[in-house]
Amino acid sequence: MPVSDSPALEIDGLIKDVGPIASLDGRMMRVLDGVSLSARFGQVTALLGANGAGKTTTLECAQGLQRRNGGTIRLLGQDPDSAGADLRARVGVMLQDGGLPPSARPLPLLRHIAAMYRNPRDIGGLVERLGIDTFTNTTVRRLSGGQKQRLALAACLVGNPEVVFLDEPSAGLDPQSRQIVFELIRELRDEGLAIVLTTHLLDDAQKLADYVFIVDGGRTVAQGTVPELLAQEGSTSSRSLMFEAAQGLDLAGLPAGLDAAEVSAGHYTVTGIQQPADLAALAQWWAAHDVMPASLHFAARNLEDVFLDISGRQIR
């Protein structure tokens, strides 16, 4: 696997209009309005955003499935719109809806797709690894959502690609399948592949991604590693702490800058914690008032906080 310093995928100012849309009096609708991102070999790059943010459209433009209206895309140094079989052989695609024929059976289907490549992956190993060997004789239409998803992943990998596009790879997966799929994605990353995935699940991005691009309203609104994004200043950059203690504590004498409320009987939430000294002050207040918390929960800032800071709306 050639690991190169130049990006596997580079998208700059991507613009895509769809339509004409009847409800817009026949005008075009701009669904991508300047998405920019890049993906490197040996990394999992996640496009994170709400449904309808433009993640799938961005991927489809990069895969050559949709023609863009503006901006540039370089996939392995080439423009996907004019790409031939040589480029397609180096890129694996897993579509959101699978794209597998309902009447097909897993093994013949994988063998058929493998026939499109000169040096495909070993199907037996892939089938075993993804647990497909337990349903080789079932037609696609009878597979569960998770089984379909694993088969689609196998179909995407069978050609031994260098760049892998996964559109919502964890959709429909039960916890075990999710574990299998995530482990395989990490392994492919460690082999040096460039993995580009979309997700609307913050948890997926936090668990898998080396680098995250947050897409909202057809634009890239933030980017960085997960720790970088978490460290970003925002309106909710202070953290909160929850503790349990006796009911009816007098919260009036809390240290300056901290705020607390008894959200339910004996359950308290302290907000406004910004630095270690705030925690120390809180502990001193407990000592002064002889409060021994029965439980403590210090919530770290997570990607959801970051996302809400940026987009200002709920995305789960």
């Binding site: 050639p2 895969q63 050559g64 499935l65 031939g84 079989a85 040589d86 397609r88 052989a89 180096r90 890129v91 695609v93 579509l95 809806d97 699978g98 794209g99 597998l100 024929p101 309902p102 009447s103 097909a104 013949p108 058929h112 797709i113 026939a115 499109m116 490549y117 000169r118 040096n119 179909a155 050609g159 031994n160 690609p161 260098e162």
Partner: protein, 247 residues
């Protein structure tokens, strides 16, 4: 670095895969083989084709061969493509080295492969029933069947690529029935209602049926009907290239 299999290998693999898929489909087999055979036998035991200057089976068989081309290239292939489009199969396969052009060529190969099997079965039964094709018939008939299959494949793709798969299913089945009965494909134009006699020669069904009858009955090439088929093939191909939606 991953490299694609050679173009010919990709297209042949796709053609083989689609052929097997078509042959495994029960409804498709009924449309492709059972109904044409029933029509062939029906026409050879009833007096529908009497008084046209040749034996019933000699008039019926070329029309049934034309019907086979329409059922496989138009109805069968159209419906399969429509649902492949719905399920994202066309989009997924076009991201593999096969690509969009390879996908279409694979479908053409599958249509021709199934058509060969249909022609073998129908001809064998027809010969048993006393069919006597003109000596020059096959030399003209085979290229005409290929041309007809091309026109109907393009028409099937045009329908499948522009409307929902349920509509494709309805349109291609309905047209198969209507053109099969009144399109001049098995019943020559002078056995049609007066209303349609003049137009069937301009339909792809009537053109293919008549051209094949002239080829197998008298060994002559019907230039007019061949031209009609060429025009249909060209128009439908242009339309499919222009309007076919992959998703």
């Amino acid at each position: 670095m991953s490299t694609p299999a050679p173009l010919a290998a990709r297209v042949l693999a796709q053609g083989r895969y689609e052929t097997i898929t078509m042959l495994r489909n029960g409804e498709q087999l009924i449309l492709a083989v059972v109904l044409p055979l029933m029509a062939l036998i029906g026409l050879s035991v009833t007096p529908l084709l009497d008084g046209l200057g040749a034996s019933r089976i000699n008039i019926a068989t070329p029309g049934i061969l034309a019907l086979c081309a329409m059922s496989t290239a138009f109805t069968g292939q159209g419906i399969a493509t429509g649902f492949d489009r719905r399920y994202g199969v066309l989009r997924f396969l076009s991201t593999t080295p096969l690509g969009r052009a390879g996908l279409i060529w694979g479908k053409v190969i599958a249509v021709l492969a199934v058509l060969v099997l249909q022609v073998l079965v129908v001809s064998a039964v027809a010969l048993l029933l006393g069919w006597q094709p003109s000596p020059a018939g096959w030399a003209l008939g085979v290229p005409l069947l290929v041309l007809g299959a091309a026109a109907f494949t393009a028409l099937g793709l045009l329908v499948a690529g522009t409307v929902r798969p349920e509509a494709t299913l309805a349109i291609t089945n309905l047209l198969w029935l209507v053109l099969g009965a009144f399109g001049g494909i098995v019943l020559p134009s002078d056995r049609q209602p007066l209303l349609v006699q003049d137009i069937v020669h301009f339909l792809p069904s009537g053109a293919l049926g008549q051209a094949l009858r002239d080829a197998f009955l008298t060994g002559t090439l019907n230039l007019g009907e061949t031209l009609v088929l060429l025009v249909w093939a060209a128009l439908a191909s242009a339309g499919a290239l222009r309007w076919f939606k992959w998703s």
